[in-house]
Symmetry: C2
Subunit: 581 residues, 2 copies
């Protein structure tokens, strides 16, 4: 027997359409409506009808087998088959994240196909797989940030049961799963939420239109919709953590901000399910409140993406200075990120034209995610070039070492570990021709500002743009790719073997550099040094201490003595110092 | 090859005695001494000689096979055989602790014998086993708080390898292990630490003599000694958490108190080992700083024992009012504990003659341990009576429900689950006759103040006192014990099944009571009520809501209607309310 409930505060009547018939729902307290349908079993389709109008998908539909515009299908999460009974989660601290997009991770582009790559990831040495959004969006393929059925798993990825199979297979291999969820906007097409109630408010605006209503009339139920969505992934799909997309676009003036409410709810659920769970925010606010504990007045996020570190590293390694890279480009920026977390922590940002950020005092290092690339930094380029296409093999290895041995929680973007040669471009599959055209033109206009001709910018709607963005796994075994993969494995093993590399305290980080000479030395604890030479010349890098061992080196031509390491241009080596000075 | 190092800041020469020979150690920086002994293998004995004196055990000896006064034995922790490779720890939040004393838990009194009872504990439904101290102390048996070789596992319990086997066996069954460690004093006999350096200071006094030196000259190395001790249990023995004994007897005026340093170090180790680990403090300070996070200015303990809740519950159920129970005895005290954590949070305490405590604002409920009894509350009675000997079977069931469905992290004391009839008394096995006599006389004098005759107080040194304190597992299957065991299992299952019972927020706790009538209703979330009647009479208890289900009841004679539950005297029932009021 199925009991269906839906919140519809503005409707005079609510019906359910199932099996060719309509049944009236009865009103409950709080503008909820309920129906008992003894014959509606898992696997059957249904839709709601408000005030006698057209059938609409359930706002909390777990399955949209006919797409986001079609009827919803009943799912019984109890029917998922689990093999992870002993899984209590894994702490985020000390872990390494691998970000992937299901549609382009494998040729098939499904969750089941992704299971076939889990052994590769376990061997690589990462701890968590972070999936770009898997909620249902219109069309077959896309990045996933245009999701509209927030409780449903995208059909082209395999639907709800496939997500459960993926998480289960990951857990069996000791890998945790993080899901990217978008609570700041809905996609421009297929958004039926607003038909049901005040899910959006005109009080605040986002880059994608009216804001989700977290603090206006009726927001209590909207907040509940979001909180229970988070619960569903963590409880029904055994997901370990959520990555909250662009929380700077969530405007909430409530005394208990929705982020804090989510954090409290995750604490509640973790205590019940006896599992370690966490929330990671994507925020460009450089505000330490994001990751401060709730008792210390913060939002209680477990970690936050750190674009400052990315930008500092990217600008140094590529020499790019356009757009937001204008604020970066010196080794000094990179050194500041290593030593303090944010680069902009109260200083004036030329790119933003305002003061930006605040020092993250007392925040442990692992609460910042550090990366050389991510889906945005690659895909938001006109042609979607990865780091491997933008710098020398030597610099790529330096970048890998500075990410994987950084104080932060490292994150790799799928294919980064072998320097995938495929681009990752902006692709869409909008079914609304006007929207498709607008997206195409918007993309071209955006990059025209940077000097790109329209013909040089791939057409997001062209299926080839999507296909071109799929990883080519055949290249993994080619020598240069295999060597880079081995370099990543080596660094990840080193990170795990030496506690200094997961030390959570910024106080134990030291940095020295020479801007003109082009070298930087990152010290972790009292005995570990990452000596990076980003210049083209071989040079003598002064260090404070006596090396007794080289733990890894990206080039063979190094030498060391008390007080100095000599290394090749565009190379990095990791040395252990004598603990007795 | 063995490299041995020891800190001996006051010695002019340090030698090692092994294999009948003495070898000189060479001084290192920081008053450390070192020797390389290629022939000293695991399993071989050695001792240090300072300034040509008598052989002394190693302060960091992991094994004292001949007792605490004898030579130390080399242990290779790498030789422990582990089967818990997938173990990443279990969060404390939502868990249940079972406290046990190895020597009296089984007839054999060993860690290996305790392994034989792990299935009983897993079936019971607890999550963590907390061992009373297992560090080496003089004599064969004792509570363990007289430990002197803080890095060694007591030989009578099976020594180091036995502890590793125990933890491994627990992990394989999904059970975590917490170790009780004593960092506030050393036992009165066999303490050789002071020969090596300034491990103690006259600057502060404890009930057991000079305080451990955490803030005086030379304290850096003493603190390191303690921090590395904690690390050893967590790293080498895979222990999940430490219970820090009587931290109110640790006086540390440093800017970074040792507790905070320990918490930071555990965070560091957890990030390296990728395991959930925690620290629980025993503190009678009622100071929320203990469990506040470090970033919020606290010591960062994960939880603290809550004697206030114990005293409130014990006094209500037994009617006892002597000693510290003078501050308790009303349902109002119990209600305050449920609703706010501490009973004394800034009020005047008649027993202490001063203002006591501070409100634990924003502290999650699970950071308090709640118990009806513990080793101290039982063993520190003149005759070591357990709760089962002090109250009716009905009240015992009420007590179990109020502990296991409380907002706190529940803790059971070994045998409590079946109402063990054996006492747990104060027993010692001091090898120093003068000390033995002093302990015996001290014990009698202590209880003379409460009207006990000397002959009524068991002699701690009498081996029969120890033997009498061992659990009698034969009684588990006797009907009345088996029924009580079933009651505990049922409550533990209920706690796990209903998220309201592990809800971490005090705001979601409600309490009503009638002091004269003798009933108390504990509300968890909006739909769970624990209705307790501690009077002897059957009565009608008013409640706020409409019961729709009885989840458990300790007596059959209950009835319910909207707004009221009628239950027998000295009984408890747990009802679910309609969520629609």
């Amino acid at each position: 027997m199925s009991t269906l409930r839906v919140w519809a505060p503005e409707a005079a009547t609510v019906e359910i359409e199932a099996g060719g018939q309509r049944h009236a729902l009865v009103p409950l307290a709080g503008d909820w409506w309920e129906a008992e349908l003894p014959d509606l079993a898992a696997g059957e389709d249904y839709a709601y009808v408000l005030d006698g109008g057209e059938p609409l998908p359930d706002p909390r539909s777990m399955h949209q087998p006919h797409g986001v515009h079609g009827p919803s299908r009943v799912v019984d999460p109890g029917s998922f088959d689990w093999h992870d009974a002993d899984w209590h989660g894994v702490p985020l601290a000390g872990g390494v994240i691998y970000e992937l997009h299901v549609g382009t991770f494998t040729p098939e582009g499904t969750l089941d196909a992704a299971i076939g790559k889990l052994d590769h990831l376990a061997t690589l040495g990462v701890d968590f797989l972070e999936l770009l959004p898997v909620t249902a969006f219109p069309g077959q393929h896309g990045w996933g940030y245009d999701g509209v059925a927030l409780y449903a798993v995208h059909e082209a990825y395999g639907g709800p049961a496939a997500l459960a199979r993926f998480v289960d297979a990951a857990h069996v291999r000791g890998l945790g799963v993080i899901l990217d969820v978008v609570y700041n906007h809905l996609g421009p097409s297929g958004n039926y939420l607003e038909r049901y109630g005040p899910y959006f408010t005109q009080r605040h605006q986002t880059p994608w239109g009216p804001a989700v209503n977290y603090d206006d009339v009726g927001s209590a139920e909207v907040r509940r919709f979001v909180v229970e969505n988070a619960r569903m992934w963590l409880r029904d799909y055994h997901v370990d953590g959520l990555r909250l997309d662009a929380v700077h676009a969530i405007i909430d003036t409530s005394a208990v901000p929705i982020l804090e409410q989510l954090a409290a709810d995750v604490e509640w659920l973790g205590a019940h399910l006896r599992r370690t769970m966490f929330l990671i925010a994507e925020s460009d606010l450089n505000d330490p409140r994001m990751v401060r504990s709730r008792e210390a007045g913060g939002h209680g996020m477990d970690a936050v993406w750190s674009d400052d570190f990315h930008h500092a590293l990217h600008a140094v390694l590529t020499g790019e200075r356009s757009g937001y890279y204008a604020d970066f480009g010196e080794l000094d920026h990179l050194a500041t990120a290593f030593a303090e977390g944010y680069v902009y922590a109260g200083q004036h940002s030329a790119y933003r034209g305002r003061i930006h950020g605040r020092p993250p005092v007392l925040v442990p290092t692992y609460r910042f995610l550090g990366y050389l690339q991510d889906h945005d930094q690659v895909g938001n380029r006109a042609r979607g070039e990865r780091s491997a296409a933008l710098m020398s093999q030597g610099r790529l290895r330096v970048g890998a070492a500075l990410v994987l041995l950084a104080p932060f929680t490292p994150m790799l973007w799928m294919g980064e570990e072998w320097g995938a040669s495929t681009p990752w471009q902006y692709f869409t599959d909008h079914d609304d021709p006007a929207l498709a055209d607008s997206v195409r033109r918007g993309r071209r206009a955006e990059f025209a500002a940077f000097g790109w001709k329209p013909s040089e910018v791939p057409d997001p709607q062209d299926p080839a743009t999507f296909t071109r963005s799929k990883l080519n796994w055949a290249e993994v075994t080619e020598t240069s790719h295999a060597e880079l993969l081995e370099w990543h494995r080596k660094l990840l093993a080193l990170r795990r073997a030496e506690p200094a590399f997961t030390d959570p305290q910024f106080q134990h980080v030291s940095v020295s550099y020479d801007e003109d000479a082009g070298w930087l030395v990152l010290g972790r604890g009292s005995t570990m040094l990452v000596v990076a030479n980003v210049s083209r010349e071989r040079q003598l890098v002064p260090i404070d201490g006596t090396p007794i061992d080289v733990l890894a080196a990206s080039a063979h031509g190094f030498a060391f003595a008390a007080g100095a390491v000599e290394i090749d241009g565009e190379s990095v080596c990791i040395v252990r110092l004598s603990q007795f000075g």
